[in-house]
Symmetry: C2
Subunit: 130 residues, 2 copies
DNA sequence: TAACTGTACTAACCGCCATAGTACAGTTGC
DNA sequence: GCAACTGTACTATGGCGGTTAGTACAGTTA
């Protein structure tokens, strides 16, 4: 399930959107799967319907879901690809931080190992599921 | 000189603090060097004295400068080390993004190359200065 | 028709950032 | 001592974004 950290600096609506993106990538939300309704999810997450709606709007913008009044919101076909495409833009964030690290004289190997261990952790959790 | 991007999402006071950290790491602001006065810098950057003061407070919190009324603000001895120490916390940011990339199925090599090219760029600018 | 769905809108509140202005205390150099 | 600088503190204000609250409307489904 998607969880909310009330004390995080990242807005709740973004946490919700990111959470569902993660579920899509994990396969928990396959193409065509129905999202919980705006009102239902707002109860589950103990938040406001408007906040959930904002999250769904964001997911729509990212090409992850499509919604229809009276019907509901569903995972789009090709949602995972859309997420991957959005994800690539985050590489520039890594690059920006890496430049600062380089300037600070932190060894390149440390930064590289940081990436490697992150990928290793991710592989581990995949193995656990299999 | 430290520059301000008015349209950036990162607060001005943080841009100022980050800017001086960069200058310290570059050697432009050696230990013991005097910072411009709060009022002087506020004029140079076309911003408010309060904003500059907030930046100086942040730099003090980071262990980069120390201030005394009537005297001024100066780069602390060991400022560069303090900055490096603060910088290490940013590695967790890289790790968090890397985990997302891993989950999204973006190849590890792409992420690693992102780091490598960032370090290469940084080396280039060092060579230029030499 | 009833019960659901998404969607739109206004109003209000809060926190953070920035600006504006004023004031006080300490240091320095004349 | 005085003038000119330094950091520091304080209140007040405005803007922006995020969140909550409440209401309302339109479309779909059983």
């Amino acid at each position: 399930m998607v969880t909310i950290d009330k004390f995080s600096r990242t807005p709740v609506y973004e946490q919700i959107a990111d959470g569902f993106c993660r579920e899509v990538l994990c396969g928990l939300m396959p193409e065509g799967a129905q999202m919980p309704s705006v009102r239902e999810l707002s109860v589950l997450l103990a938040t406001n319907p408007n906040t959930v709606q904002k999250a769904y709007l964001e997911l729509d913008r990212r090409g992850v879901i499509s919604s229809a009044p009276g019907v509901g919101s569903f995972i789009r076909t090709g949602a995972a690809d859309a997420i991957r495409e959005n994800m690539k833009s985050r590489m520039s964030e890594i690059a920006a931080i890496a430049k600062e690290l380089a300037l600070a004289g932190i060894p390149e190997e440390e930064a590289l190992n940081c990436i490697r261990s992150a990928y290793r952790d991710s592989d581990q959790s995949k193995i656990k599921k299999e």
